[in-house]
Amino acid sequence: MQSTEALVSVGLNHYLVLSALLFTIGALGVLLRKNMIVILMSIELMLNAVNISFVAFATYLDNLDGKIMVLFVMTIAAAEAAVGLALAVNIFKNFREVNIRFFEHLRG
């Protein structure tokens, strides 16, 4: 059977579909959740999904640039999480609020 054979032997497609699924879950989290911390976590999930496709391409094309991109993406993700959480903690300490809708009312 051609169809089950494609499902069973894992190839590049499988990794890309997994990456797409995780990316969509993360995007849904960003769109639907209200808690700022959870939104930041969903962004981490999306970046992870991107990393999977980078590594999958790097391995299947035998090209190491993808793996280096993963290192860079991880650095950026960690930096983004650090600054985002510093902002969130600051706002929470002043207003006791993490709802993303509340942030629209911040001025100055």
Binding site: V10, G11, L12, N13, H14, Y15, L16, V17, L18, S19, L21, L22, F23, T24, I25, A27, L28, G29, L31, L32, R33, K34, N35, I37, V38, L40, M41, S42, E44, L45, N48, N51, I52, S53, V55, F57, T59, L61, D62, D65, I68, V70, L71, F72, M74, T75, I76, A77, A79, A82, V83, A86, V89, N90, F92, N94, V98, I100, R101, G108
Partner: protein, 187 residues
């Protein structure tokens, strides 16, 4: 079905399941713990892709550092279960769901279609993974050395810019976290 395929299916279903739970759980502290599990599964997926160094970095940076910070911050907030965890509006919520679904479909479809094009450029690709699945990935150290050489030659500028970014980030975080003072005095 080889060992590699079984591992891929176990790990990918784990990562997708825990990833979905991150979004669906209304308690943020559980969300963060599910995210840890999802990250560890992704690290396992990197291992199946013959990238153990990336997997190790994933564990050190994400599971060992970034998510510890998330868990600590959520302990500060100590939020009770959110009664309305999701944004309001049935219609806009539906639109968002449909949009995300379409996005997923497009990405998956595009990926599926493009693979044959990419693969057409180099013929012998699938064999290296298949052979590795049979014999076990051995030359780990060499591949890390290759990555390192590339990082310090071709990507040297990006690397130094990252160093600059990593200098700026703690300065910003310290400035933001000042209890008193900062740009605006506490009112």
């Amino acid at each position: 079905m080889s060992e590699l395929d079984i591992l891929f299916y176990i790990l990918s279903s784990m990562s997708v399941l825990f990833g979905a739970l991150v979004v669906l759980t209304s308690s943020p502290i559980y969300s963060s713990l599910y995210l840890v599990m999802s990250m560890l599964s992704v690290a396992g997926i990197f291992m199946t892709l013959n990238a153990p160094f990336i997997a190790g970095i994933q564990i050190i940076v994400y599971a060992g550092a970034v998510l510890v910070l998330f868990v600590m911050v959520l302990m500060l907030f100590d939020l009770k279960r959110e009664t309305k965890a999701f944004t309001k509006g049935r219609f806009s919520g539906f639109l968002k769901l449909v949009g995300a679904g379409l996005l997923c479909g497009f990405i998956a479809g595009a990926a599926y279609e493009s693979v044959s094009l990419i693969m057409a450029t180099s013929e012998e690709i699938p064999t290296n993974i298949a052979a590795a699945a049979e014999t076990g990935f051995s030359p780990t150290t060499n591949s890390i050395k290759e990555i390192s050489k590339l990082l310090f030659t071709k990507y040297l500028f990006a690397f130094e810019v990252l160093g600059l970014l990593l200098l700026v980030v703690p300065i910003g975080a310290v400035a933001l976290s000042r209890v008193a003072g900062g740009t605006h005095a506490k009112h």
